[in-house]
């Protein structure tokens, strides 16, 4: 795969589409084990991202992802805002000056983003957070040279669904203790939408 400015923009528009379409679903999930704003937060943030991308011009991936990160940081709020914001800022930093990225460069960028997420949120794999989708997806991209969109989306979906059985240790759902079991983590679902949109960007073909 090669990620260009155009494909990145396409990806982010897809993310916005998915988030808007699932706004109520994400909110419902957050009502069950959180405070019911995750859909609202993500929809507000990606709406702005989409607007931004429609009005600005980008020569490189770094400035594109920086804008995405800053927009999410200043529009989403809550727990997910600083997390997704940090992730895209780190991705931007990792892709400094690059106008396109190979799969391995992009995977390294996502690894940096994941590191940022973990640094910011102090969560581990298995805490029932978005990390539970990010970490396996990043691992997979790093360790496989030829990846199809379908493989990526399937993996993200599987890991997202697996958060259902986990007891939350971080984020608002942690207050529920064992009562959090049986519910999907809203942030894991929004992260799944992020990666499934990436898959959609490259349709079913090789990423």
């Amino acid at each position: 795969m090669t990620l260009t400015v155009e494909t990145a923009i396409k990806w982010l528009h897809f993310v916005n589409e998915e988030i808007q379409a699932n706004k109520e679903y994400l909110t419902d999930l957050d009502q069950a084990i959180g405070d019911g704003d995750h859909g609202l937060n993500m929809a507000r943030g990606f709406q702005e991202v989409s607007l931004k991308l429609n009005t600005a011009n980008y020569n490189d991936l770094a400035s594109l992802f920086k804008d995405v990160g800053m927009t999410l940081l200043s529009k989403v709020g809550g727990a997910s805002g600083p997390l997704y914001g940090t992730a895209f800022m780190r991705l931007s930093m990792a892709l400094k000056d690059k106008s396109k990225a190979t799969q391995s460069e992009f995977s390294e960028g996502l690894q940096a983003a994941l590191n940022g997420l973990k640094m910011r949120g102090k969560a581990q794999l298995g805490d029932k957070t978005m990390i539970d989708v990010w970490e396996p997806v990043v691992e997979f991209l790093k360790n496989h040279e030829q990846v199809t969109g379908k493989q990526l989306a399937d993996l993200a979906k599987e890991k997202m669904e697996a958060t259902k059985d986990i007891e939350a240790k971080k984020g608002r759902a942690a207050y529920l203790g064992k009562r959090s079991i049986g519910h999907l983590d809203p942030g894991a679902v929004s992260s799944y939408l992020l990666f499934s949109s990436l898959s959609r960007t490259f349709s079913e073909g090789e990423i």
Binding site: T27, Q31, G34, D35, G36, D37, G39, L40, N41, R44, L73, S74, K75, V76, G77, G78, A79, S80, G81, P82, L83, R120, G121, K169, K170, G171, R172, A174, Y175, L176, G177, R179
Partner: protein
């Protein structure tokens, strides 16, 4: 959804505008932001106090802006922590060179957003200190998890740290006294009905006609258990005992007691709860220095209440007794 709103997505801005119309002598808006600050901010020679969080907890926090309490409140979307850029604007607006204390309620989102703002401000050479309020004993305090939530006890941190800042104390001193309040304040709440985030349009959780939730958080986070509705006395007993268990008071200790309404509960009921809480404290020879009964830290229109107890020492008592001229807290 039965609410007095216009566009459900504009409630925070419109509320802020309504507050500015109501209190033009006390409040100003930092232009282009969701920050409400003291009209006279930054106050020279005084440490600045900034708090905030998601909206929907009114009068928290903008109602506590004023002489002797906060210098600025950052208003996030409903139940959503404000973003770092907004908190950063608040810090800049209230720093007189003596530094700024951030009073943060212990939620992942608030911590992260305020932390990032602090980093931004520090990069600009502003001294920033942070305290994290975690008074809610409904949640187990474990280092492996998110820890306890910050709820109504936060108002007492505002009051006492505000008085300390007003006395001309240094940032380290104000931070220290805020941490002393945090170490000595405990709360627990309960709910009879859910509440509805305007933009979500439907209640955040469900409670049956005969159910209540003990240990409910102020964003509708579930608590310890759902049970049948109990009498006011029994609710008062449950909340008070859980708070006391954690606070380990001794007889003749002096405390501030707050019986806080979550927004939808009549003041009449809060006083009925207070009657029992006061009795329980009397039985244990705990002396209530002052009682606050009212809607101090709410959850939109949720019906329910919380009980907060702050253990005083000489210093905390004097600072608590100091004058305050905030919109929603006058002393």
């Amino acid at each position: 959804m039965k609410k007095l709103v216009n566009d459900p997505n504009q409630v925070v801005i419109e509320m802020m505008e309504g507050m500015l119309e109501a209190h033009p002598e006390q409040l100003k808006r930092i232009p282009g932001t969701t920050v409400l600050a003291r009209k006279d901010a930054p106050v020279q020679g005084k440490v600045g106090l900034v708090s905030g969080g998601g909206s929907g907890h009114e009068p928290a926090h903008a109602g506590y802006v004023g002489k002797g309490m906060l210098d600025a409140a950052v208003c996030g979307e409903v139940f959503t922590s404000p973003t770092p850029d907004q908190v950063y604007e608040a810090i800049k607006a209230v720093d007189s060179g003596k530094g700024v204390l951030l009073i943060i309620k212990n939620y992942t989102g608030d911590i992260m957003n305020f932390e990032m703002a602090a980093e931004m401000a520090e990069a600009e050479g502003i001294q920033v200190a942070k305290v994290v309020v975690n008074d809610d004993v409904a949640v187990e305090d474990s280092t492996y998890t998110t820890g306890r939530r910050g709820i109504a006890g936060t108002v007492l941190v505002h009051k006492i740290a505000g008085a300390m800042a007003d006395s001309g104390a240094s940032l380290a001193e104000v931070e220290a006294v805020a941490n002393k309040v945090i170490a000595n304040v405990r709360s627990m709440g309960m709910a009879l009905t859910p509440c509805t985030i305007p933009a979500a349009g439907k209640p955040g959780f469900h409670l049956g006609e005969n159910e209540m939730e003990i240990g409910m958080g102020i964003h509708g986070e579930p608590g310890i258990e759902k049970s049948e509705i109990q009498s006011a006395d029994s609710v008062a007993e449950t909340l008070t005992n859980k708070v006391l268990e954690d606070l380990k008071l001794e007889s003749n200790d002096q405390v501030v007691l707050m019986v806080n309404g979550l927004g939808g509960t009549p003041v009449m009921e809060l006083y009925i709860v207070n009657r029992k809480v006061a009795q329980l404290l009397k039985e244990k020879s705990i002396h209530v220095h002052e009682t606050l009964v009212g809607n101090y830290m709410t959850s939109l229109e949720m019906a329910g209440c919380s009980v907060t107890i702050l253990k005083l020492d000489q210093q905390l008592q004097e600072l608590f007794d100091a004058k305050a001229e905030a919109i929603a807290y006058k002393k």
